[in-house]
Protein backbone atom coordinates (compact mmCIF):
# COMPACT_ATOMS: atom_id res chain seq x y z
CA UNK A 1 0.00 0.00 0.00
CA UNK A 2 3.00 2.28 0.55
CA UNK A 3 3.05 5.24 -1.86
CA UNK A 4 0.06 3.79 -3.73
CA UNK A 5 -3.02 5.87 -4.44
CA UNK A 6 -6.40 4.67 -3.17
CA UNK A 7 -8.96 5.62 -5.81
CA UNK A 8 -11.33 2.69 -5.98
CA UNK A 9 -12.08 -0.04 -3.42
CA UNK A 10 -10.86 -2.64 -5.92
CA UNK A 11 -7.37 -1.05 -5.78
CA UNK A 12 -6.99 -3.00 -2.52
CA UNK A 13 -6.95 -6.77 -2.08
CA UNK A 14 -8.59 -8.86 0.62
CA UNK A 15 -5.28 -8.84 2.51
CA UNK A 16 -5.14 -5.05 2.26
CA UNK A 17 -8.66 -4.75 3.75
CA UNK A 18 -7.64 -6.93 6.67
CA UNK A 19 -4.42 -4.99 7.17
CA UNK A 20 -6.34 -1.67 7.27
CA UNK A 21 -8.73 -3.21 9.82
CA UNK A 22 -5.79 -4.40 11.94
CA UNK A 23 -4.08 -1.00 11.93
CA UNK A 24 -7.39 0.84 12.51
CA UNK A 25 -8.02 -1.21 15.64
CA UNK A 26 -4.52 -0.28 16.83
CA UNK A 27 -5.43 3.38 16.41
CA UNK A 28 -8.71 2.86 18.18
CA UNK A 29 -6.77 1.69 21.25
CA UNK A 30 -4.18 4.42 20.90
CA UNK A 31 -5.48 7.24 18.68
CA UNK A 32 -2.94 9.94 19.58
CA UNK A 33 0.49 9.15 18.16
CA UNK A 34 3.19 11.46 16.91
CA UNK A 35 4.01 9.45 13.80
CA UNK A 36 3.11 12.05 11.13
CA UNK A 37 5.30 14.86 12.47
CA UNK A 38 6.78 16.73 9.51
CA UNK A 39 4.21 15.38 7.07
CA UNK A 40 1.79 17.63 5.20
CA UNK A 41 -1.51 16.23 3.94
CA UNK A 42 -3.51 18.31 1.47
CA UNK A 43 -7.32 18.10 1.59
CA UNK A 44 -8.69 19.43 -1.70
CA UNK A 45 -12.47 19.61 -1.57
CA UNK A 46 -13.67 20.75 -4.99
CA UNK A 47 -17.16 20.24 -3.61
CA UNK A 48 -18.02 20.64 0.05
CA UNK A 49 -18.35 17.60 2.30
CA UNK A 50 -17.87 18.71 5.86
CA UNK A 51 -18.19 15.30 7.49
CA UNK A 52 -15.63 13.56 5.30
CA UNK A 53 -13.18 16.46 5.41
CA UNK A 54 -13.30 16.81 9.20
CA UNK A 55 -12.82 13.08 9.60
CA UNK A 56 -9.66 13.16 7.47
CA UNK A 57 -8.33 16.30 9.15
CA UNK A 58 -8.99 14.87 12.59
CA UNK A 59 -7.14 11.68 11.59
CA UNK A 60 -4.06 13.64 10.46
CA UNK A 61 -4.08 16.03 13.41
CA UNK A 62 -4.24 13.20 15.94
CA UNK A 63 -1.09 11.75 14.40
CA UNK A 64 0.85 15.02 14.57
CA UNK A 65 0.68 15.85 10.84
CA UNK A 66 -0.30 19.18 9.32
CA UNK A 67 -3.19 19.83 6.94
CA UNK A 68 -3.38 22.32 4.08
CA UNK A 69 -6.13 22.70 1.50
CA UNK A 70 -9.45 24.25 0.65
CA UNK A 71 -13.01 23.44 1.60
CA UNK A 72 -14.78 24.50 -1.57
CA UNK A 73 -13.87 25.91 -4.96
CA UNK A 74 -14.91 29.47 -4.11
CA UNK A 75 -11.76 29.91 -2.02
CA UNK A 76 -9.41 28.26 -4.54
CA UNK A 77 -7.96 29.15 -7.92
CA UNK A 78 -10.42 26.74 -9.54
CA UNK A 79 -12.71 29.76 -9.35
CA UNK A 80 -10.28 31.51 -11.72
CA UNK A 81 -10.63 28.68 -14.20
CA UNK A 82 -7.64 26.54 -13.25
CA UNK A 83 -7.78 22.96 -14.56
CA UNK A 84 -7.74 19.97 -12.23
CA UNK A 85 -4.41 18.95 -13.73
CA UNK A 86 -2.78 22.26 -12.81
CA UNK A 87 -4.28 22.20 -9.30
CA UNK A 88 -2.95 18.71 -8.65
CA UNK A 89 0.51 19.34 -10.11
CA UNK A 90 0.84 22.44 -7.95
CA UNK A 91 -0.41 20.97 -4.68
CA UNK A 92 1.72 17.84 -5.19
CA UNK A 93 4.72 20.16 -4.70
CA UNK A 94 3.46 21.26 -1.30
CA UNK A 95 2.29 18.00 0.25
CA UNK A 96 3.12 14.34 0.91
CA UNK A 97 -0.37 13.04 0.18
CA UNK A 98 -3.48 14.52 -1.41
CA UNK A 99 -7.00 13.76 -0.20
CA UNK A 100 -9.46 14.96 -2.82
CA UNK A 101 -13.17 15.16 -3.36
CA UNK A 102 -14.45 16.25 -6.74
CA UNK A 103 -17.89 16.25 -8.42
CA UNK A 104 -16.51 14.89 -11.71
CA UNK A 105 -16.33 11.09 -12.01
CA UNK A 106 -12.89 9.66 -12.68
CA UNK A 107 -11.17 12.84 -11.47
CA UNK A 108 -9.32 10.98 -8.71
CA UNK A 109 -7.99 8.29 -11.09
CA UNK A 110 -6.78 11.01 -13.43
CA UNK A 111 -5.14 12.86 -10.54
CA UNK A 112 -3.39 9.67 -9.45
CA UNK A 113 -1.86 9.34 -12.92
CA UNK A 114 -0.34 12.81 -12.94
CA UNK A 115 0.49 13.40 -9.27
CA UNK A 116 3.92 12.57 -7.86
CA UNK A 117 2.39 12.08 -4.41
CA UNK A 118 -0.31 9.47 -3.68
CA UNK A 119 -3.99 10.39 -3.99
CA UNK A 120 -6.74 9.28 -1.64
CA UNK A 121 -10.15 9.57 -3.24
CA UNK A 122 -12.68 11.08 -0.85
CA UNK A 123 -15.49 10.80 -3.40
CA UNK A 124 -15.59 11.44 -7.16
CA UNK A 125 -19.18 12.21 -8.10
CA UNK A 126 -21.37 9.11 -8.07
CA UNK A 127 -18.36 6.88 -8.72
CA UNK A 128 -16.18 5.83 -5.77
CA UNK A 129 -15.64 6.61 -2.09
CA UNK A 130 -13.26 3.88 -0.92
CA UNK A 131 -12.48 5.23 2.57
CA UNK A 132 -16.21 5.09 3.40
CA UNK A 133 -16.19 1.47 2.28
CA UNK A 134 -13.18 0.63 4.45
CA UNK A 135 -14.76 2.24 7.49
CA UNK A 136 -17.92 0.22 6.79
CA UNK A 137 -15.81 -2.93 6.68
CA UNK A 138 -14.10 -1.95 9.93
CA UNK A 139 -17.49 -1.32 11.57
CA UNK A 140 -18.81 -4.69 10.43
CA UNK A 141 -15.66 -6.47 11.61
CA UNK A 142 -15.75 -4.74 14.98
CA UNK A 143 -19.38 -5.50 15.69
CA UNK A 144 -19.36 -9.07 14.39
CA UNK A 145 -15.79 -10.14 15.20
CA UNK A 146 -15.40 -11.39 11.63
CA UNK A 147 -16.19 -10.50 8.03
CA UNK A 148 -16.75 -14.10 6.96
CA UNK A 149 -20.14 -15.70 6.18
CA UNK A 150 -22.30 -12.78 7.29
CA UNK A 151 -25.88 -12.10 6.30
CA UNK A 152 -26.05 -8.52 5.05
CA UNK A 153 -29.28 -6.64 4.35
CA UNK A 154 -28.96 -3.52 2.20
CA UNK A 155 -31.92 -1.17 2.22
CA UNK A 156 -33.00 1.86 0.20
CA UNK A 157 -31.36 3.26 -2.91
CA UNK A 158 -29.42 0.28 -4.25
CA UNK A 159 -29.34 1.63 -7.79
CA UNK A 160 -27.36 4.82 -7.30
CA UNK A 161 -25.87 4.31 -3.82
CA UNK A 162 -22.12 4.16 -4.38
CA UNK A 163 -21.45 3.00 -0.81
CA UNK A 164 -23.69 0.00 -1.45
CA UNK A 165 -21.87 -0.91 -4.66
CA UNK A 166 -18.39 -0.61 -3.13
CA UNK A 167 -19.43 -2.64 -0.09
CA UNK A 168 -20.77 -5.44 -2.29
CA UNK A 169 -17.42 -5.59 -4.12
CA UNK A 170 -15.38 -5.61 -0.90
CA UNK A 171 -17.57 -8.05 1.06
CA UNK A 172 -17.69 -10.46 -1.87
CA UNK A 173 -14.24 -11.64 -0.71
CA UNK A 174 -15.75 -12.96 2.55
CA UNK A 175 -18.57 -15.35 1.45
CA UNK A 176 -21.54 -13.18 2.43
CA UNK A 177 -25.26 -13.65 1.76
CA UNK A 178 -26.95 -10.46 0.62
CA UNK A 179 -30.57 -9.37 0.95
CA UNK A 180 -31.33 -6.38 -1.25
CA UNK A 181 -34.40 -4.44 -0.14
CA UNK A 182 -35.48 -1.54 -2.33
CA UNK A 183 -38.35 -0.05 -4.32
CA UNK A 184 -38.56 -1.40 -7.87
CA UNK A 185 -37.14 1.82 -9.33
CA UNK A 186 -34.00 1.60 -7.20
CA UNK A 187 -33.15 -2.08 -7.49
CA UNK A 188 -29.57 -3.27 -7.47
CA UNK A 189 -28.12 -2.90 -11.02
CA UNK A 190 -27.76 -5.99 -13.16
CA UNK A 191 -23.95 -5.74 -13.29
CA UNK A 192 -23.71 -6.41 -9.52
CA UNK A 193 -26.02 -9.40 -9.77
CA UNK A 194 -23.88 -10.78 -12.61
CA UNK A 195 -20.79 -10.14 -10.47
CA UNK A 196 -22.28 -12.08 -7.52
CA UNK A 197 -23.49 -14.88 -9.80
CA UNK A 198 -19.99 -15.24 -11.22
CA UNK A 199 -18.59 -15.50 -7.70
CA UNK A 200 -21.23 -18.08 -6.76
CA UNK A 201 -22.57 -15.90 -3.94
CA UNK A 202 -26.18 -15.95 -2.72
CA UNK A 203 -28.41 -12.91 -2.83
CA UNK A 204 -32.14 -12.26 -2.59
CA UNK A 205 -34.19 -9.27 -3.67
CA UNK A 206 -37.14 -7.94 -1.67
CA UNK A 207 -39.47 -5.00 -1.84
CA UNK A 208 -40.77 -5.30 1.74
CA UNK A 209 -38.46 -3.86 4.40
CA UNK A 210 -39.35 -6.40 7.08
CA UNK A 211 -38.79 -9.47 4.90
CA UNK A 212 -35.13 -10.01 5.73
CA UNK A 213 -34.54 -8.19 9.01
CA UNK A 214 -34.92 -11.08 11.45
CA UNK A 215 -32.03 -13.15 10.07
CA UNK A 216 -29.61 -10.33 9.22
CA UNK A 217 -26.29 -9.72 10.98
CA UNK A 218 -25.98 -6.24 9.48
CA UNK A 219 -28.69 -3.90 8.21
CA UNK A 220 -27.10 -1.31 5.95
CA UNK A 221 -29.55 1.58 5.50
CA UNK A 222 -29.30 4.24 2.79
CA UNK A 223 -31.28 7.30 1.87
CA UNK A 224 -34.03 7.14 -0.77
CA UNK A 225 -33.60 10.47 -2.50
CA UNK A 226 -36.48 12.28 -4.15
CA UNK A 227 -34.36 13.44 -7.09
CA UNK A 228 -33.71 9.82 -8.14
CA UNK A 229 -37.35 9.37 -9.21
CA UNK A 230 -38.56 10.41 -12.64
CA UNK A 231 -42.13 10.31 -11.36
CA UNK A 232 -42.75 12.24 -8.11
CA UNK A 233 -45.85 10.15 -7.41
CA UNK A 234 -43.69 7.03 -7.30
CA UNK A 235 -41.49 8.70 -4.69
CA UNK A 236 -44.48 9.64 -2.54
CA UNK A 237 -45.62 6.01 -2.70
CA UNK A 238 -42.36 4.50 -1.49
CA UNK A 239 -40.80 7.18 0.71
CA UNK A 240 -42.38 5.90 3.90
CA UNK A 241 -42.06 2.21 3.02
CA UNK A 242 -38.35 2.09 3.83
CA UNK A 243 -38.31 3.71 7.24
CA UNK A 244 -36.75 1.54 9.93
CA UNK A 245 -38.65 1.79 13.22
CA UNK A 246 -37.70 0.51 16.65
CA UNK A 247 -40.75 -1.77 16.76
CA UNK A 248 -39.40 -3.67 13.74
CA UNK A 249 -36.28 -4.71 15.62
CA UNK A 250 -37.95 -6.96 18.19
CA UNK A 251 -37.25 -10.29 16.52
CA UNK A 252 -33.84 -9.42 15.10
CA UNK A 253 -30.66 -11.28 16.04
CA UNK A 254 -28.79 -10.23 19.21
CA UNK A 255 -25.58 -9.54 17.28
CA UNK A 256 -27.37 -7.47 14.62
CA UNK A 257 -26.18 -3.90 14.08
CA UNK A 258 -27.66 -1.10 11.98
CA UNK A 259 -25.24 0.87 9.79
CA UNK A 260 -25.84 4.01 7.74
CA UNK A 261 -23.24 6.08 5.85
CA UNK A 262 -25.03 9.28 7.03
CA UNK A 263 -26.45 11.86 6.65
CA UNK A 264 -29.75 10.33 7.63
CA UNK A 265 -33.00 12.06 6.74
CA UNK A 266 -36.01 10.04 7.87
CA UNK A 267 -35.14 6.48 6.83
CA UNK A 268 -34.24 5.53 10.38
CA UNK A 269 -36.78 6.68 12.89
CA UNK A 270 -35.18 8.57 15.82
CA UNK A 271 -36.65 6.05 18.27
CA UNK A 272 -34.03 3.59 16.96
CA UNK A 273 -31.13 5.83 18.08
CA UNK A 274 -31.16 4.61 21.69
CA UNK A 275 -31.46 0.94 20.73
CA UNK A 276 -28.10 -0.79 21.35
CA UNK A 277 -28.37 -2.23 17.83
CA UNK A 278 -28.05 1.28 16.35
CA UNK A 279 -24.43 1.70 15.33
CA UNK A 280 -24.40 4.55 12.79
CA UNK A 281 -22.97 7.27 15.03
CA UNK A 282 -20.21 5.00 16.27
CA UNK A 283 -19.61 4.08 12.63
CA UNK A 284 -18.76 7.74 11.95
CA UNK A 285 -16.15 7.66 14.74
CA UNK A 286 -14.64 4.54 13.17
CA UNK A 287 -14.04 6.72 10.12
CA UNK A 288 -11.28 8.56 11.96
CA UNK A 289 -9.43 5.34 12.95
CA UNK A 290 -9.83 3.88 9.48
CA UNK A 291 -8.49 7.05 7.84
CA UNK A 292 -5.57 7.11 10.28
CA UNK A 293 -4.80 3.57 9.15
CA UNK A 294 -5.12 4.38 5.42
CA UNK A 295 -2.93 7.50 5.60
CA UNK A 296 -0.30 5.78 7.78
CA UNK A 297 -0.06 2.77 5.50
CA UNK A 298 0.26 4.93 2.38
CA UNK A 299 2.87 7.18 3.95
CA UNK A 300 4.72 4.09 5.17
CA UNK A 301 4.76 5.02 8.88
CA UNK A 302 2.82 1.89 9.95
Amino acid sequence: MKNKSLVSITDYSKEDYLEIIRVASEFEKNPIQDILRGYVVATLFFEPSTRTRLSFESAVNKLGGRVIGFTDVVTSSVQKGESLKDSILTVANYSDLIVMRHPIEGSARFASEISKVPIVNAGDGANQHPTQCLLDLYSIYKTQGTLENLNIAMVGDLKYGRTVHSLIMALSEFSPTFNFISPDELRIPLEYKVFLDNKGLKYYEHTELEDALHYSDIIYMTRVQKERFSDPIEYEKVKNAYVLKNSMLQNTKDNMKILHPLPRVNEISTDVDTNPKAYYFHQALNGVFTRQAIISKILGVK
Binding site: S8, L84, P103, E105, G106, F110, G125, N127, Q128
Partner: protein, 151 residues
Protein backbone atom coordinates in the same frame (compact mmCIF):
# COMPACT_ATOMS: atom_id res chain seq x y z
CA UNK B 1 -16.58 -11.98 -58.00
CA UNK B 2 -14.51 -11.09 -61.01
CA UNK B 3 -15.04 -7.37 -60.36
CA UNK B 4 -13.93 -7.75 -56.77
CA UNK B 5 -10.71 -9.49 -57.76
CA UNK B 6 -10.02 -6.77 -60.25
CA UNK B 7 -10.52 -3.96 -57.76
CA UNK B 8 -8.32 -5.68 -55.19
CA UNK B 9 -5.50 -6.24 -57.60
CA UNK B 10 -5.71 -2.67 -58.75
CA UNK B 11 -2.98 -1.60 -56.33
CA UNK B 12 0.57 -2.81 -56.63
CA UNK B 13 1.82 -2.72 -53.03
CA UNK B 14 -0.41 -1.91 -50.07
CA UNK B 15 -3.51 -2.79 -48.13
CA UNK B 16 -7.16 -3.33 -48.99
CA UNK B 17 -9.66 -3.08 -46.15
CA UNK B 18 -12.89 -4.84 -47.07
CA UNK B 19 -16.21 -5.51 -45.33
CA UNK B 20 -16.50 -2.15 -43.63
CA UNK B 21 -20.16 -1.28 -42.90
CA UNK B 22 -20.97 1.52 -45.38
CA UNK B 23 -22.07 3.95 -42.67
CA UNK B 24 -18.77 3.48 -40.79
CA UNK B 25 -16.44 4.40 -43.64
CA UNK B 26 -15.73 7.89 -42.39
CA UNK B 27 -15.12 6.68 -38.84
CA UNK B 28 -12.61 4.16 -40.17
CA UNK B 29 -10.88 6.90 -42.16
CA UNK B 30 -10.68 9.03 -39.05
CA UNK B 31 -9.51 6.21 -36.72
CA UNK B 32 -6.72 5.21 -39.12
CA UNK B 33 -5.89 8.89 -39.75
CA UNK B 34 -5.98 8.24 -43.50
CA UNK B 35 -6.42 11.95 -44.10
CA UNK B 36 -2.78 12.34 -43.00
CA UNK B 37 -1.40 9.81 -45.51
CA UNK B 38 -0.07 11.09 -48.82
CA UNK B 39 -0.13 7.94 -50.95
CA UNK B 40 -2.79 7.02 -53.50
CA UNK B 41 -6.06 5.83 -51.98
CA UNK B 42 -9.43 4.67 -53.27
CA UNK B 43 -12.61 4.63 -51.25
CA UNK B 44 -15.68 2.77 -52.37
CA UNK B 45 -18.93 2.83 -50.49
CA UNK B 46 -22.55 1.64 -50.67
CA UNK B 47 -21.38 -1.45 -52.52
CA UNK B 48 -23.79 -4.35 -52.29
CA UNK B 49 -22.72 -7.06 -49.87
CA UNK B 50 -24.49 -10.28 -48.92
CA UNK B 51 -23.14 -10.07 -45.38
CA UNK B 52 -23.47 -6.38 -44.58
CA UNK B 53 -26.13 -5.10 -46.96
CA UNK B 54 -24.06 -2.13 -48.02
CA UNK B 55 -20.35 -2.13 -47.45
CA UNK B 56 -17.39 0.11 -48.00
CA UNK B 57 -13.88 -0.71 -49.14
CA UNK B 58 -10.60 1.16 -48.82
CA UNK B 59 -7.51 0.60 -50.91
CA UNK B 60 -4.27 2.22 -49.83
CA UNK B 61 -1.15 2.16 -51.92
CA UNK B 62 2.15 1.70 -50.12
CA UNK B 63 0.71 1.38 -46.62
CA UNK B 64 1.02 -1.64 -44.30
CA UNK B 65 -0.59 -1.47 -40.86
CA UNK B 66 0.66 -2.78 -37.53
CA UNK B 67 -1.73 -5.21 -35.83
CA UNK B 68 -2.40 -2.78 -32.94
CA UNK B 69 -3.04 0.02 -35.35
CA UNK B 70 -5.56 -1.86 -37.46
CA UNK B 71 -7.40 -3.48 -34.55
CA UNK B 72 -8.54 -0.02 -33.52
CA UNK B 73 -11.13 -0.13 -36.30
CA UNK B 74 -12.69 -3.28 -34.82
CA UNK B 75 -14.87 -1.05 -32.67
CA UNK B 76 -16.79 0.28 -35.68
CA UNK B 77 -16.07 -2.42 -38.27
CA UNK B 78 -15.81 -5.72 -36.37
CA UNK B 79 -16.11 -7.83 -39.55
CA UNK B 80 -13.50 -5.94 -41.54
CA UNK B 81 -10.98 -8.00 -43.49
CA UNK B 82 -7.56 -6.94 -44.65
CA UNK B 83 -5.84 -8.05 -47.80
CA UNK B 84 -2.14 -7.37 -47.95
CA UNK B 85 -1.05 -6.82 -51.52
CA UNK B 86 2.41 -7.37 -52.94
CA UNK B 87 3.01 -7.08 -56.68
CA UNK B 88 -0.75 -6.98 -57.44
CA UNK B 89 -1.40 -10.26 -55.59
CA UNK B 90 -3.01 -10.92 -52.22
CA UNK B 91 -0.20 -12.34 -50.11
CA UNK B 92 -1.87 -12.28 -46.71
CA UNK B 93 -5.37 -11.96 -45.24
CA UNK B 94 -6.23 -10.68 -41.77
CA UNK B 95 -9.41 -10.31 -39.83
CA UNK B 96 -9.56 -7.52 -37.28
CA UNK B 97 -9.91 -8.34 -33.62
CA UNK B 98 -11.26 -6.15 -30.83
CA UNK B 99 -8.25 -5.27 -28.63
CA UNK B 100 -8.08 -5.61 -24.81
CA UNK B 101 -7.62 -1.91 -24.34
CA UNK B 102 -8.88 1.08 -26.31
CA UNK B 103 -6.96 4.32 -25.98
CA UNK B 104 -8.11 7.64 -27.36
CA UNK B 105 -10.57 6.42 -29.99
CA UNK B 106 -13.95 6.35 -28.33
CA UNK B 107 -15.78 8.89 -26.20
CA UNK B 108 -17.02 7.92 -22.73
CA UNK B 109 -20.82 7.81 -22.57
CA UNK B 110 -20.90 9.48 -19.14
CA UNK B 111 -21.23 13.29 -19.44
CA UNK B 112 -19.91 13.62 -15.87
CA UNK B 113 -16.71 11.70 -16.70
CA UNK B 114 -13.42 13.61 -16.39
CA UNK B 115 -12.60 12.71 -20.01
CA UNK B 116 -15.61 14.78 -21.11
CA UNK B 117 -14.72 17.68 -18.87
CA UNK B 118 -10.97 18.14 -19.13
CA UNK B 119 -8.25 17.38 -21.68
CA UNK B 120 -7.80 13.72 -20.71
CA UNK B 121 -7.22 10.96 -23.28
CA UNK B 122 -9.91 8.25 -22.94
CA UNK B 123 -8.83 4.75 -21.88
CA UNK B 124 -11.13 1.74 -21.83
CA UNK B 125 -10.86 -1.91 -20.94
CA UNK B 126 -12.89 -4.08 -23.31
CA UNK B 127 -15.12 -6.17 -21.02
CA UNK B 128 -17.16 -7.76 -23.81
CA UNK B 129 -15.46 -8.22 -27.18
CA UNK B 130 -18.46 -9.66 -28.96
CA UNK B 131 -20.99 -7.00 -27.99
CA UNK B 132 -18.29 -4.32 -27.70
CA UNK B 133 -18.66 -3.06 -24.13
CA UNK B 134 -15.99 -0.64 -22.94
CA UNK B 135 -15.30 0.14 -19.29
CA UNK B 136 -13.87 3.58 -18.70
CA UNK B 137 -10.61 3.58 -16.74
CA UNK B 138 -11.66 6.83 -15.07
CA UNK B 139 -15.37 6.93 -14.22
CA UNK B 140 -15.74 3.10 -14.43
CA UNK B 141 -18.97 3.40 -16.46
CA UNK B 142 -19.60 1.07 -19.39
CA UNK B 143 -20.05 2.39 -22.93
CA UNK B 144 -21.81 -0.08 -25.25
CA UNK B 145 -21.91 -0.22 -29.03
CA UNK B 146 -25.19 1.72 -29.31
CA UNK B 147 -23.63 4.65 -27.45
CA UNK B 148 -20.20 4.43 -29.02
CA UNK B 149 -18.98 7.71 -30.48
CA UNK B 150 -15.62 7.88 -32.22
CA UNK B 151 -13.55 10.94 -31.34
Amino acid sequence: MKDKTLSVSAIKEGTVIDHIPANQLFDVISILKLDKINTQMTFGTNMLSKKLGRKAIIKIEGKFFEVDEINRIALVAPQAKLNIIHDYAVTEKWVVEVPEEIIGIAKCVNPKCITNNEAVVTKFTVIDKEKVALKCRYCEKVTDRQHLVVI
